[in-house]
């Protein structure tokens, strides 16, 4: 749908040439009109579902690589390449029935053998980033060509959610075996669009896969993803008509999109969270009142007016929160409301703890304008209760490194979120959690969260997560602040787009 905007006077010879080209190309001519151009906020990394790690990469995979199951905006699992699934009686096996007649882009058949190959590749490829996601899968049995069973080492209901994302994306065994770790240079999957071309930092082009099992639901012939990191430039491209859809519109730019007669916007609160993380036991830098006394952390939380932060910095476009699960998530507990700002109570807690004010706190944050803006608001709010916050802006790679080494007092960053509740909490707060940079450790929390992994009944699981969250909100190693919304901008004629909390751009039934 990009217009080149040329005006020229065609000569007769040129017209004859064009006519011949159209005849030769057959149906290729209308194809050009049926292309969709999507502006991404970053350039994806390697296009191998087993090696990939970026959020934008997943957006491309949504069109390129079908997965076993998908997840709805309400976070229910629905069939994709698997038509149904069933848990074993002990919760230690998961059997999938597979869709018949599915082909990979190279013509190879999709079947139980292919699933086995994929799971094994995800578990064994040295460069695989999926190992921790499916660590409980011990082996894979091919029951018959269209039935496959995953045998788990422990009961683990979170596997299903992992298979609704990159761990469940199926690559062509033949292509993957031939290319090895270099598979990402020319990915071959079974999604509605196949890989055509990639110019790093410039574009990724996909073309319609004529043999897709659900091809009628996809109306575009060509999808071009263009990474444009600057949000202003991305929006300018949408407004000038060079792009059809853009992701991650800045909350402060929503009014521009709404004010443009040719555009519209869509939004969904994401699956993740943004939090202030306090070093409670990771080395010497945890040895300070904020790290050692939970009353000081509680006082800090009571200094915050989350609603005001959302209004001031994000023009009310995001969702304030105090739990790892966003408000609309089924695992968000309504029994734990967001505490209102209470300066008097905060001061009383500090007095009770016997700590002299102002309490010096250094908060590390990313040098992105957004983090700086929220931390400045928090800085002024906490000042009133007796905290003197020093802000240290650093670039993301450095912040990560300092985090793992324990070289921080508190830091502010977020998590993109997972459809299964376990993915938003377990690794951050369990004693041996891989993302627990603050080294919070409470055996009771560990026990509750480990049990929650084994329960198939959502109500029973929710009770566990609520119990864990209640303890965490007392101990407060993390002060949850807000949940980001995914905001898309698009041309008004784009029809059928569903705003999804996982931030993906699903092209099924999208027209325009």
């Amino acid at each position: 749908m990009s217009s080149t905007g040329h005006s020229f006077r065609p000569s007769a010879a040129l017209l004859r040439g064009v006519a011949a080209a159209v005849l030769l190309a057959g149906f290729a001519a209308p194809a050009a009109a049926q292309s969709l151009r999507i502006g991404l906020a970053e350039d994806p990394d390697v296009l191998d579902p087993h090696q990939a790690r970026t959020f934008v990469g997943r957006i491309v995979f949504t069109a390129l690589c079908d997965k076993l199951i998908d997840v709805t905006p309400e976070l229910k699992f629905v069939p994709r390449l698997a038509t149904s699934w069933e848990w074993g009686a002990d919760g230690k096996s998961l059997t999938f029935k597979l869709r018949d007649g599915v082909k990979f882009h190279d013509g190879e058949p999709f079947n139980a053998e292919a699933v086995k190959y994929n799971i094994e590749r995800a578990k064994t490829l040295p460069e695989s980033r999926r190992k921790s996601e499916i660590t409980s899968v011990a082996s894979v049995d091919v029951v018959d060509p269209l039935t496959v069973r995953l045998n788990l080492s422990v009961a683990d209901v979170t596997v299903l959610a992992q298979l609704s994302d990159r761990s469940g994306m199926m690559v062509s065994p033949k292509a993957a075996a031939a290319a090895g770790a270099n598979y990402g240079a020319k990915p071959v999957c079974s999604g509605p669009y196949k890989f055509a071309e990639r110019v790093q930092n410039d574009r990724i082009v996909l073309e319609r896969f004529a043999d897709h099992w659900n091809k009628a639901a996809y109306s575009f012939d060509k999808i071009t993803y263009l990474p444009i990191p600057d949000s202003t430039v991305r929006l300018a491209n949408l407004r000038s008509g060079d792009l059809d859809i853009i992701e991650r519109v800045e909350p402060t730019d929503v009014k521009i999109v709404k004010g443009d007669a040719n555009l519209k916007s869509a939004a969904a609160v994401g699956l993740g969270f943004q939090s202030l993380n306090i070093n409670v036991a990771n080395g010497d830098r945890s040895k300070n009142p904020l790290g050692q006394d939970k009353r000081i952390r509680q006082a800090f939380e009571l200094s915050l007016d989350r609603d005001a932060i959302n209004q001031v910095v994000f023009e009310g476009q995001f969702a304030p929160g105090n739990q790892p699960f966003p408000p609309a998530n089924p695992y968000n507990s309504k029994e734990i409301p967001i505490p209102a700002r209470n300066v008097d109570k905060a001061k009383a807690l500090i007095k009770e703890a016997g700590v002299a004010t102002p309490i010096q706190v250094e908060v590390t944050m990313s040098n992105a304008p957004r983090s700086q803006a929220i931390m400045q608001v928090i800085q002024s709010m906490a000042q009133e209760t007796g905290f003197a916050i020093k802000l240290k802006a650093t670039e993301f790679a450095t912040m990560l490194n300092e985090g793992t080494k324990g070289d921080f007092q508190a830091n502010q960053y977020g998590w993109s979120g997972r459809p299964d509740p376990d993915g938003n909490i377990h690794a951050f707060v369990t004693c041996k959690g891989g993302l627990n940079d603050w080294k919070y450790c409470n055996p009771e929390v560990d026990k509750i969260l480990d049990e929650a992994r084994t329960l198939a009944d959502p109500a029973a699981r929710k009770a566990k997560y609520t119990a864990a969250t209640q303890i965490l909100l007392q101990d407060l190693p993390n002060i949850y602040l807000y949940h980001e919304s995914w905001i898309w901008g698009m041309k008004k004629k784009i029809d059928g787009f569903v705003a999804h909390p996982d931030g993906m751009i699903r092209l099924e039934n999208v027209k325009g």
């Binding site: 080149t4 905007g5 040329h6 350039d43 990394d45 390697v46 090696q51 990939a52 790690r53 040295p126 460069e127 695989s128 980033r129 190992k131 921790s132 996601e133 770790a181 270099n182 990402g184 240079a185 110019v199 790093q200 930092n201 410039d202 574009r203 263009l226 990474p227 444009i228 990191p229 600057d230 202003t232 430039v233 300018a236 491209n237 407004r239 000038s240 008509g241 060079d242 650093t394 670039e395 993301f396 790679a397 450095t398 990560l400 490194n401 300092e402 793992t404 998590w415 993109s416 690794a427 891989g434 993302l435």
Partner: protein, 314 residues
């Protein structure tokens, strides 16, 4: 002349080795661990260990450098940690884009800067001079990123004349290529035109005071001929040298311009690589840039000698 060039080339070799060692060590001093970034949000320890092994990050630094240099001598600059693409391919893909951008920007700079400079010098002290100097001052002071965004809003969003950003290669479509490159080239050439104008103006003023110009006028030559044939030719000598050296500066300016206009060139490649701690790419790109700079300096030296043979032994 040949021995002069050969001598210069010999001096270039240790320079390149020093630059590569410098960049290699400096990168490792950067805070932040590339593997932590590469391991993804989950930071799986098994993945981290495997990646460290694969990219030899557990080896002592000198060993890492020697391994890299040995491969580089054999034409292998390694692969990008981020996308697995060979660094040499990335450079071959991005360098022509930036060179085109720089060449177009230079053309803008010459077309605007030299005539403006000549005019300002010839009409020194008049409104023309002040106007040209004023515009030059504006060009020097307006930041690239600001001018870029403003142009995008005006030319692309308001009038819809040119695409806001992006890139189409010359082989794909020449007209589309020019449509995407003209705005960034103008932005990049703008500041350069300003300094070009200043240099031309002062060189011209110097030349116009010379005796032979007076002689030319005295023998009745028409003023345009005096200015263009006699004065400008001599005034251009320092301008050409400055221009060659500014070409290097252009490559630096391209970093920012490419970011704004999302042009997949050298500048964008290196900025992304630094932020992702993509060591192999940074190393390869810097090596190429160093070689390019050394080449340009050599060119400038050769030009000096051609213009002034007395420098040959110096």
């Amino acid at each position: 002349m040949l021995s002069f060039i050969a001598r210069r080339l010999l001096i270039a070799i240790p320079t390149i080795i020093l630059v590569s060692i410098f960049v290699f060590t400096l990168q490792k001093l950067l805070p932040g661990d590339p593997i932590l970034v590469l391991a993804g949000e989950e930071r799986d320890p098994v993945v981290i260990a495997a990646l460290r092994e694969k990219y030899r990050l557990n080896d002592p630094l000198p060993l890492q450098y020697i391994a890299w240099a040995w491969q580089a001598l054999h034409g292998n600059l390694g692969i990008s940690l981020r996308t697995n693409a060979p660094v040499l391919d990335l450079i071959a893909e991005k360098l022509p884009v930036t060179l085109q951008l720089a060449a177009m920007a230079m053309t803008f700079a010459l077309l605007i800067g030299i005539p403006a400079g000549v005019m300002a010098a010839v009409r020194k002290g008049t409104a023309w001079d002040y106007a040209a100097t004023g515009i030059a001052l504006w060009g020097l002071s307006i930041p690239n990123f600001f001018l870029g965004i403003m142009l995008i809003f005006l030319v692309s969003v308001q009038f819809n004349w040119l695409p806001a950003s992006g890139y189409v290669s010359l082989t794909e479509s020449v007209s589309q290529n020019l449509r995407t490159m003209i705005m960034p080239a103008f932005v990049l050439g703008n500041a350069l035109a300003a300094s070009m104008m200043r240099h031309t103006r002062s060189a011209m003023l110097g030349v116009l005071r010379q005796d032979y110009i007076r002689t030319a006028r005295a023998k009745g030559l028409l003023e345009p001929r005096v200015i263009l044939r006699h004065a400008l030719r001599n005034a251009l000598v320092p301008v050409v040298t400055v221009g060659t050296l500014l070409f290097g500066e252009l490559l630096a300016g391209a970093v920012l311009t490419e970011q704004i206009f999302t042009i997949p060139g050298f500048g964008k490649l290196i900025v992304d690589a630094v932020f992702n701690r993509d060591y192999a790419v940074v190393q390869g790109v810097v090596l190429c840039t160093a070689i390019g700079y050394i080449g340009l300096n050599l060119l400038a030296d050769v030009l000096y000698v051609v213009l002034n043979p007395r420098l040959r032994t110096g």
